[in-house]
């Protein structure tokens, strides 16, 4: 008798609960077989401020609903009553963890609709800032995957280096979290003296971190047991559910805007995003780990290739009453989570008619997460959420 088979027989409950005729699971709470359980918003395992309404049977989730809106500030509405320049401080707060793509996208939308060319130097600086932003997110996000499985050590190390990167941001942009660096037409300053040297020191630490996180997490038997085979995203889900960035690349589908629709200076940089096909939590985390290395390498490349001096800002009309002709556009860039896009409609006035931000979390955290959580263990909700890199503020904005 194969003991393994008996275990599997009892652990495989994919057909559980029964599915009714309307395609929905039959869940009778009064049968005392199921328990309704909320995770979040006050829950350390939930990324950011959102909540999951789980129906569990034992430790297993049979139905899940995500509830968002705890961070809704109505940005898109607020931006409709702000001038273009005033949108910037507002806009960057749409995603707290990685605010720079917001800045870039809004600036790009404005530039594209009003036809402004950005100077060379500013483009390099923008690329640098975007990569630095990716670096600081990944330094938190990569070990954060271990954190969801209670391996907090890597998170501690990563966060320290992230803090150092934030110091570099502070030097360069004047802000620690909200940088307000990219403005329409260009950026707000050149590299300070000695920046490259200090950055290189930090990158060395990051290199060491990459190595040690590999030892700690990816070669960790327990982590492998937890993460491998968990929450597999089949390839056909990529388009159906809208899967972007590292999550799609873990499924073997190349989705990286930096490569497919190069923007800024990415066409001049040499990099190859990593893809794999396992598509489980481990693979997604591993893709991010490779991304981290790519990013470190890219920052080195950028710092080597960028010119020393140059114009940082193209002249713009007076920002106090800048009117942009009627039009609409969609621009996108690659955030650490995937394709990050902004759709802007202008109507010829000095305020945008409509701004819509599309972050990958919008699809990841709603339909995809709900789908992946079914038949998962309660213990894995946090791991799955983090592996999809959900960022609630970009869902509800």
């Amino acid at each position: 008798m194969d003991i393994r088979k008996i275990f599997q027989q009892y652990s495989d409950r994919t057909s559980y609960p029964e599915i009714g005729e309307d395609g929905k699971p039959i869940i009778d709470l009064s049968s005392h077989k199921y328990l309704k359980m909320w995770q979040g918003p006050q829950h350390p395992g939930v990324t950011g401020n959102m909540s999951l309404e789980l129906t569990v049977c034992g430790d297993e989730i049979v139905e899940s609903k995500t509830h968002v809106g705890y961070l809704h500030r109505g940005f898109e509405k607020l931006m409709e009553r702000r001038k273009f320049i005033q949108c910037f401080p507002t806009c960057i707060r749409m995603c707290v963890a990685e605010p720079d793509p917001n800045e870039y996208l809004l600036a790009r939308c404005v530039e594209e609709l009003s036809g402004i060319e950005v100077p060379e130097m500013a483009q390099w600086l923008r690329t640098l800032v975007l990569e630095m932003a990716r670096l600081q997110v990944l330094l938190r996000g990569v070990p954060g995957q271990g954190g969801t499985f209670a391996l907090g050590l890597g998170y501690q190390w990563g966060n320290y280096i992230r803090d150092l990167i934030l110091d570099r941001f502070e030097e360069l942009t004047g802000g620690r979290v909200y940088h307000m660096y990219i403005l329409p037409g260009g950026v707000r300053g050149l590299l300070p003296d000695g920046f490259k040297k200090r950055m290189e020191e930090n990158l060395k630490l990051a290199d060491e971190f990459v190595k040690s996180i590999d030892d700690l997490m990816y070669s960790n038997s327990v982590f492998k047991q937890r993460a491998k085979g968990l929450a597999v995203i089949p390839k056909e889900y990529i388009d159906k559910y809208g899967v972007y960035g590292p999550s799609a690349r873990a499924a073997g589908v190349m989705r990286d805007v930096r490569k497919t629709n190069p923007y800024l200076k990415y066409a001049e940089l040499d990099f190859e995003p990593y893809t794999t096909t396992e598509s489980d939590v481990y693979a997604r985390s591993r893709v991010r780990w490779y991304d981290l290395q790519t990013t470190i390498d890219l920052i080195r490349q950028i710092m080597a290739k960028m010119p020393e001096k140059g114009e940082i800002k193209a002249p713009t009309p007076n920002v106090l009453h800048w009117k942009i002709p009627k039009g609409e556009t969609y621009v996108k860039c690659e955030s650490s989570r995937g394709e990050y896009g902004m759709y802007m409609v202008t109507d010829g006035s000095d305020m945008p008619r409509r701004v819509n931000l599309k972050g990958p979390s919008y699809t990841h955290a709603n339909m995809l997460l709900e789908k992946l959580l079914i038949n998962a263990n309660i213990a894995d909700t946090a791991g799955i959420m983090v592996s999809l890199a959900t960022c609630p503020p970009e869902i509800e904005r």
């Binding site: 607020l78 009553r81 990529i238 388009d239 559910y241 809208g242 556009t329 409609v345 008619r353 699809t363």
Partner: protein
């Protein structure tokens, strides 16, 4: 891009087209053809990835603009399908059968703009707001500043002066 647009124009009545970049264009289509075009693009033209669905409130003209933005993951181009729907009792055909992620967008539009998508799953559930009783907040006729000032409590003690007015009142009060 041009080829696809010509192809679409031969099949659907495109009333307006705007080519923004060589990989992005917007087409305006009558309401009843929109879902058909989206399906066509998805199934026959390779626009299999759905990027976003959003609405724009053209209150002056009395209609909502719905934009379905589709992405072609093989040649990396994007087509925005725009359609205009009546602002009063706004209703649109649901497209949740095309992409799973669509129902989230439709839920959001229902809540934020009040556009109904009959048949879309969970479309009536609260998505972002909770217990909202005012008009849908993303509509242009909803004044968020006024609402905020009436509902929340702005801290008193703020007063400002317009430089021109202030100088006028101080320097030549009799004018």
């Amino acid at each position: 891009m041009q080829k696809i647009i010509q192809d679409i124009e031969s099949r659907y009545s495109v009333s307006e087209k705007e080519i923004r970049r060589n990989n992005l264009c917007f087409l305006t289509i009558p309401k009843n053809q929109a879902i058909s075009l989206v399906t066509y693009l998805r199934d026959y033209q390779g626009y299999s990835a759905f990027t976003l669905l959003t609405a724009v409130d053209w209150i002056e003209e009395g209609h909502f603009q719905l934009t379905y933005l589709l992405n072609n993951p093989t040649n990396y181009t994007e087509i925005g399908v725009r359609t205009m729907i009546e602002r009063d009792h706004a209703t649109m055909e649901s497209a949740h059968h095309l992409w799973e992620s669509m129902q989230t967008y439709q839920r959001e539009l229902k809540e934020m703009f009040g556009i109904d998508f009959p048949g879309s799953p969970r479309v009536d559930e609260d998505f972002i707001l909770e217990g909202w009783t005012d008009i849908p907040p993303y509509r242009r006729d909803f004044d968020t500043k006024k609402y905020a000032e009436e509902t929340y409590f702005p801290r008193p003690g703020r007063e400002t002066n317009d430089p021109a007015e202030y100088m006028k009142s101080k320097l030549f009060p009799n004018d």
